[in-house]
């Protein structure tokens, strides 16, 4: 036997993975007009791995702490060999990952892959989406520049508006009443320990479920294929789909590298808590639609403060979003309703983001 085969046999005797491998060989991916959307989940996972790797590299030089954070990032950008590349890849990949996470969620929504038996996959996925946005929010503060400082101030301020639990939550997030070095330390802890820990568990759960339950097919196609089994078209996951995914990942890597080299992430100006906020502070693009909505709500709606109403509304929508599969049934009109809701949600998010970007 060839040396490789010897090693594999040795491992199999100790890990007993032959049946697992047999299972993986059988895994298939449905082929239809909309199959390309299936790549999004894998790309999001790939970008997450990129984040972990570049994040670990950045950890070797980054110093959390109000008086050192900015300078350590400056050091990475200017003194460390290829530090500019690692940091810019990390920043760009973060934004790309949030984008693909949203796209993945919407594609699952439109392809209706959240239906039974995949409700738990959906729930874990939506929570992962929230975690990913939390990653973005906490990571954004870490370079401790003016924009990040004030964006964090505004963002945590809005959290504080929620009745009863808002203020304690805000103090918990900020590590005090105001945004200070304590906030930075706390956000650093969230960003490199708490969130990665929770996210890893949820990702494993999510991916495991996908493996066990297989890849879903849109309802109409499902009906078609159950009526006419010979029309069903599939592709083996290993090696065919996997290699295609590898291609997508390499292309994503190329895009990341180009973005990092041509548009390196800028440093900004070190945060000065005593300086007044610059005019027109806006959060990062993935929060823009919420931010813009809050700006448009009138100051008072009946007797409720407008901003509080907005925050509560988004909270409610978030909760309902997690529980979306339970509003679904096979009743055709229900299906149409959720499709309509999905289209509205997508249009709203895109529209509000553009509006928020253009508004002063």
């Amino acid at each position: 036997m060839s040396p490789l085969r010897n090693v594999l046999h040795w491992l199999d005797e100790r890990l007993e993975w032959d049946d697992l491998i047999a299972l993986l060989r059988k895994k298939t991916v449905p082929l239809h007009r909309l199959s390309y959307w299936y790549f999004l989940g894998g790309i999001t996972l790939f970008l997450f791995v990129i984040q972990v790797l570049t994040g670990i590299l950045l950890l070797l030089y980054y110093r959390p702490g109000a008086n050192e954070a900015f300078e350590s990032v400056q050091y990475i950008m200017t003194q460390v060999q290829f530090g500019w590349l690692i940091r810019s890849v990390h920043s760009w990949s973060a934004n790309l990952m949030i984008f693909t996470a949203f796209a993945h969620m919407f594609s699952v929504l439109f392809l209706k892959a959240y239906r039974k038996p995949r409700e738990l996959t959906w729930i874990s996925g939506v929570i992962l989406l929230f975690l990913v946005m939390g990653f973005g929010f906490s990571g954004y503060l870490l370079p401790w520049n003016t924009l990040a400082f004030f964006a964090t101030k505004v963002g945590t301020e809005i959290t504080g508006q929620v009745p009863f639990i808002g203020k304690p939550t805000m103090i918990f997030l900020r590590g005090g009443e105001d945004v200070t070095g304590a906030t930075l330390t706390r956000f650093f802890g969230f960003h490199v320990a708490v969130l990665p820990g929770i996210a890893t568990v949820l990702i494993l759960f999510h991916v495991l479920l996908v493996q066990r339950l297989g890849i879903s097919v849109p309802p109409r196609l499902e009906l078609e294929w159950s009526a006419n089994p010979s029309a069903k078209r599939e592709m083996k996951f290993f090696p065919n789909f996997a290699l295609r995914e590898l291609m997508a990942w390499y292309i994503a890597l190329g895009v990341l590298g180009a973005l990092a080299a041509i548009f390196p992430w800028n440093l900004g100006v070190k945060a000065d808590p005593f300086a007044p906020a610059p005019a027109g502070i806006k959060p990062e693009w993935y929060f823009l639609f919420m931010f813009q909505t809050l700006k448009l709500i009138p100051a008072k709606v009946w007797f409720i403060d407008g901003e509080i109403l907005g925050v509560l509304a988004f909270g409610l929508v978030g909760l309902l979003w997690v529980l979306l599969p339970f509003f679904e049934s096979d009743h055709p009109s229900h299906l149409k309703r959720i499709t309509g809701l999905s289209i509205f949600a997508l249009a709203y998010i895109i529209g509000m983001s553009i509006y928020g970007h253009l508004a002063k």
């Binding site: 065919n240 290699l243 295609r244 390499y250 590298g257 041509i262 800028n266």
Partner: protein, 422 residues
């Protein structure tokens, strides 16, 4: 009847209490307010006799416990106008303009008296006033010239440190301009009335009134306040040199000092103006409309050549700095980190500023030192910027190679897939 009796009794007791209270507490209610019947009537009268309690409470004299009678005399305790404003009670009536300086001086030139209120307040204002142009004309009988109340206001006189005071540094120019910019009022005097207009365009006005830099000069800084008079043609540079030390030192040692003095020309003012002093540019050394040298010198003479040399040097340094700035800006916008070079640029700009200061020596050799140091710094910064651009290109080449490698992988994967699926 019983009820009525009780009510009456209660009313009576109440009245007693009120009367008692008034008698006991009246002194406390009016504590700190010396009796002042003047305002009782005059607060209701129209201008020019009207002075409201509100207006007078702003006055620093009122806040120190002085009242109307301390300047106007009279009896403040009486409500009867005839008694209050009787000559027997010392009433002086409206104080004539001619009498104002001496009236104010009765207290403000008395150190022992003023010491009771503010020991560090000066008491030489009247003496200074007598030396001023205003004071001299006043002594000659001119009633149009400024007296104390014209500048300091009256009845709502505030301390100069109060931003609302008419003599707060930020407001001084406006106060002076009330007369000095009024062409009608100044008819009959031989001085121009464009000073305020010119000053409003000046860099000093911008610093003081717009930026709030209280170290910037206003009218009284150069002319004096109580002893206000123009500095005198040969003393102008002393005034300017209070702040612009370096330029004055250079000028003092230069050829122009002697030349201007012998021609009775007012030093700094010859090139920079007096009231409308704008930020000087290198064009002053040129041959265009802003040029000052050619007002005296002839084209082609040795001074003209020196001027041209100075201008060329300054231009060279300015261009070198701008050049480096441009390259650094491009490098920075491409994502290169050039903050060290940017910091060094500020030192190059400092050299340019120093070179412009040494123009006042009118000697190329003195200016050369600053020019050379500035040029070397700018050259180094330009180099740093160019290095950054090289690094940037190196990054792009690296990116290109990685993209090619990725392209090869993607192409290879495609081919491989095609093969295993055929």
């Amino acid at each position: 009847m019983v009820i009525l009796q009780n009510k009456t009794r209660r009313l009576a007791i109440a009245r007693c209490l009120v009367a008692f209270g008034l008698i006991v507490f009246a002194p406390y209610v009016s504590y700190g307010q010396t009796p002042n019947s003047c305002l009782d009537c005059h607060s209701a009268l129209p201008e020019p006799l009207g002075v409201t309690q509100e207006k007078f409470s702003q006055d620093i004299h009122a806040q120190r416990g002085l009242t109307c009678v301390d300047c106007h005399g009279g009896d403040p305790t009486s409500d009867d106008p005839d008694k209050a404003m009787s000559r027997k009670a010392g009433w002086k009536g409206k104080i004539e303009r001619k009498q104002i300086p001496e009236l104010c001086g009765t207290c403000h030139s008395d150190p022992a008296y003023i010491r009771q209120f503010n020991p560090s307040l000066r008491t030489d204002q009247l003496a200074q006033y007598h030396t001023s142009v205003h004071g001299k004309r006043w002594a000659a009988g001119d009633t149009k010239v400024a007296v104390c109340t014209d500048c300091h206001s009256v009845h709502d006189l505030r301390a100069p440190s109060d931003p609302r005071s008419t003599v707060n540094p930020v407001n001084v120019a406006n106060t002076c301009s009330r007369c000095h910019a009024d062409a009608n009022y100044m008819k009959g005097y031989s001085i121009p009335t464009d000073q305020f207009a010119k000053y409003s365009t000046s860099v000093h006005h911008d610093a003081l009134a717009v930026r709030g830099d209280l170290s910037a000069p206003t009218c009284s800084t150069c002319h004096g306040n109580h002893g206000a008079a123009p500095p005198g043609v040969d003393k102008v540079q002393n005034v300017c040199s209070t702040c612009h030390v370096f330029q004055a030192q250079m000028y003092e040692k230069s050829s122009h000092k002697a030349a201007f003095q012998s021609a009775s020309l007012p030093g700094c003012v010859v090139c920079h103006g007096n009231h409308g002093i704008v930020h000087p540019t290198d064009a002053k050394l040129g041959t265009g409309p802003d040029a000052v040298c050619m007002q005296c010198h002839k084209p082609g003479d040795v001074c003209d050549q020196a001027r041209a040399a100075l201008l060329t040097d300054l231009g060279r340094l300015d261009e070198a700095i701008n050049n480096a700035d441009r390259v650094l800006a491009v490098a920075e916008s491409s994502g290169m980190e050039v903050s060290e070079a940017r910091l060094a640029q500020s030192q190059a700009r400092d050299s340019l500023t120093k070179a412009r200061v040494s123009v006042h020596s009118f000697r190329k050799d003195l200016m050369d030192q600053d020019i050379q140091s500035g040029l070397s710094i700018a050259a180094k910064d330009l180099q740093a910027g160019q290095k950054a651009m090289v690094e940037r290109n190196y990054r792009r080449v690296g990116l290109g190679m990685s993209l090619i490698a990725i392209g090869i992988v993607v192409a290879g994967l495609r081919l491989y897939l095609k093969r295993i699926e055929s």
